[in-house]
Amino acid sequence: MQIYLPIAEVSVNALLLFGLGGIVGLLSGMFGVGGGFLITPLLFFIGVPPTVAVATGANQVVASSVSGVLAHIRKRTVDFRMGWVLLAGGLIGSALGIWVFNILSALGQIDLTVQLSYVLFLGFVGLLMFQESLRSILRSRQPARKITRRHQHLLVHRLPLKMKFRTSGLYISVIPPILVGMLVGVLAAIMGVGGGFIMVPAMIYLLGMPTKVVIGTSLFQIIFVTAFTTVMHAVTNQSVDMMLALLLILGGVVGAQFGTQIGAKLKAEQLRILLALLVLGVCGLLALDLLLRPGELYSISVEGRA
C-alpha cells in the first residue's frame, strides 16, 4: 500500500513505515531509549530527504517520550526540579542547534554533519556501554561482593549556584545540568534525536544522579526539547511531515509495548550489551558510508521554484 507523503514529496509503502516504527518501538521498549537515533538513519535509507527525516524524527520522539514518562510519573521516578533545570539548558541548546542546522543546510554540509555526529556519538556511547556491561557480566559470574559507594565529591559539588534536588537526593551546582541540557538540545536539533543515549550516562556519571530517577527525568525533559525542536523545524524549514510522523508513531506505540514485555524477560546486563552492540552496529554502517567511495559522487538539492 503506497502512501504519498505531502511534505517529503515521496511515495513510500505505508506498511514499511509502520514496520519501521514498530521495530524502533520494539527496541525502545526493550532498552528504554527514544529510538530517534535509529529512526532518522533508517528514514535516510528509504529515501526521505534528510531535513524531513530529522524534523519528523523529533516529532516521533515526542510521542514515545510522552508514552514513557507517564509510566515513570506513576512510579514517582521523575525529578521534576532537575528536569526543569535540564530543560532550561535544553531550550537554549535547541535554538542554537536549529541555527547551526540552517547554516549547514545552506552550505550543503548538513548530511555530513548529521552523519559525523552520529558516528562520533554512537561510537562513543556504544563503546562505553559495551565495556561497562561486559564488566558487570564478568563481575556477576564471580561470587557476590557488596559494592559500597561512599559519598563522593565530584566537580558538581564545588561550582557555585548550588540547588537542592530532593527526588535525586542531591545538593549540587546548576551549571553542569544546564550544560548537559544544552549539549542534548543541540544534538536534538541537528540529529533529530531525543538525546537519551547521551543524557542518561551524563546524568549518572557527571551529575551523580541515582539510576532509578534517571530515565524518567531524561524522558521528561526530552519531551519539551523535542517538542520545541519540532515546532522550530516546522516554522523555519517547513520540514515536519505529519503523515510520516503519524505512521511511525502508530507503529512505534504498538512495538514499544511488545518491547517492554520482551525486555522484562531479559537480564539487565544482557539488555545493555545487546543495546551496545546495536548502537555500535548503526555507528559502523554510517562510518563505512563516510569512508568508502560513494557510488555517485554528485548530489542534487532543490532550492525552490525557478
Binding site: 500500500m1 503506497q2 502512501i3 504519498y4 505531502p6 511534505i7 514529496e9 515521496v10 511515495s11 516529532n59 516521533q60 515526542v62 510521542a63 514515545s64 517520550s65 510522552v66 508514552s67 514513557g68 507517564l70 509510566a71 550543503g108 554540509q109 548530511d111 555530513l112 559525523l116 517538542a227 519540532t230 515546532v231 522550530m232 523545524h233 516546522a234 516554522v235 517547513q238 515536519v240 505529519m242 503523515m243 510522523a245 503519524l246 508513531i249 502508530l250 506505540v253 504498538v254 514499544a256 509495548q257 563516510l290 569512508l291 568508502l292 567511495r293 560513494p294 555517485e296 559522487l297 554528485y298 548530489s299 542534487i300 538539492s301 532543490v302 532550492e303 525552490g304 521554484r305 525557478a306
Partner: protein, 248 residues
C-alpha cells in the same frame, strides 16, 4: 523598398501546410494520499489541406514538469572522508522530463531547431556560469541522476505514427511527482525542421488531506508545528492509557 519588406514578411511567415490537432487522456492529475503514479495518453492527428510534401513526417512529444532551481554538489575525499566540496547552481531544470519521438532525435531535429525549441534533455536545462572549469560535468551528473531515478526519459521509438496522420504515445508518471503545471508539447518535423507545434498544460496538484497539510505547513507553519505536537502527545498518552487498561 516597401515591396521588398512585404516580400520578406511573406517569406518569414510560416506556411502552415500541416497542422497538429491533439488531445490528452487527462489534463488534471490529483495527488491523493494513495497516489502511486499515473499515466497520460497523448494522441492526435495531422490536418493538411494539400497533399503531403516530400520527406518523412516525424513527431516529437514532450512532457515537462515545473522548472526548479537546484544545486549540484560533488563529493571529494577530504581528510579520509567523503565531503561535499564543489557546487554548481543550475538556475532551471525541469523536475520531470519525458521525450517520445518517432525516430532518434538527431534524425528528426537539427541542432539549430533543438536549440530554438529546447527539446533534448541537455537543452531543457539552464545553468548559469559558476566559474568552475568543469561545470559541464555537473549538468551531465544532474541528467545522469535524474535519468537513473526515472525522472528524465528519452524514448526514441515511443510515438506511434500511422499513415503520416494519426499519432499517439503514453507517458508514465512516477509516484514521486512534484506539484505544478506540466507542459505537453507536440512538434511536427520534416527534414529536421519544425513545421508546426502545439502546447497544452496538465495540472498536477495535491488534493484532499495532502493539499490541506501541505498548505497549512507553508501558510501557518506555527499552527502546523503545534498540531504535529498535539498529534504526538495524544498518541503517546492514548498508547499508555490503552495498554494500562489491557493489563489491568
Amino acid at each position: 523598398m516597401i515591396r521588398l519588406l512585404a516580400l520578406l514578411i511573406l517569406f518569414a511567415l510560416p506556411v502552415r501546410a500541416e497542422e497538429v490537432v491533439a488531445g490528452l487522456s487527462q489534463n488534471r492529475i490529483a495527488i491523493t494520499a494513495s497516489f502511486s503514479g499515473s499515466d497520460i495518453l497523448v494522441f492526435g492527428a495531422v490536418k493538411r489541406d494539400t497533399p503531403a510534401p516530400e520527406g518523412p513526417l516525424q513527431v516529437i512529444i514532450t512532457l515537462q514538469g515545473p522548472p526548479l532551481a537546484v544545486t549540484v554538489r560533488r563529493k571529494d575525499k577530504v581528510a579520509g572522508i567523503w565531503v561535499n566540496t564543489d557546487a554548481v547552481p543550475v538556475s532551471s531544470s525541469p523536475s520531470f522530463y519525458a521525450i517520445a519521438a518517432t525516430a532518434p532525435l538527431r534524425e528528426v531535429l537539427t541542432e539549430t531547431e533543438d536549440l530554438r525549441h529546447a527539446v533534448s534533455i541537455p537543452r531543457a536545462i539552464r545553468a548559469v556560469g559558476s566559474g568552475l572549469e568543469d561545470a559541464g560535468v555537473f549538468t551531465d551528473a544532474l541528467i545522469r541522476i535524474r535519468t537513473d531515478e526515472g525522472s528524465y526519459t528519452l524514448n526514441e521509438t515511443g510515438v506511434e505514427l500511422a499513415e503520416e496522420t494519426l499519432f499517439r504515445t503514453r507517458f508514465i508518471l512516477p509516484a514521486n511527482l512534484t506539484e505544478g503545471a506540466y507542459r505537453t508539447r507536440i512538434l511536427l518535423t520534416r527534414n529536421g525542421q519544425v513545421i508546426d507545434s502545439h502546447e497544452t498544460m496538465v495540472d498536477v496538484r495535491k488534493v484532499g488531506l495532502e493539499r490541506w497539510l501541505f498548505a497549512l505547513s507553508r501558510e501557518q507553519p506555527l499552527i502546523y508545528g503545534l498540531l504535529s505536537l498535539v498529534l504526538a502527545v495524544t498518541a503517546g498518552w492514548a498508547a499508555s492509557a490503552a495498554f494500562r487498561y489491557i493489563r489491568s
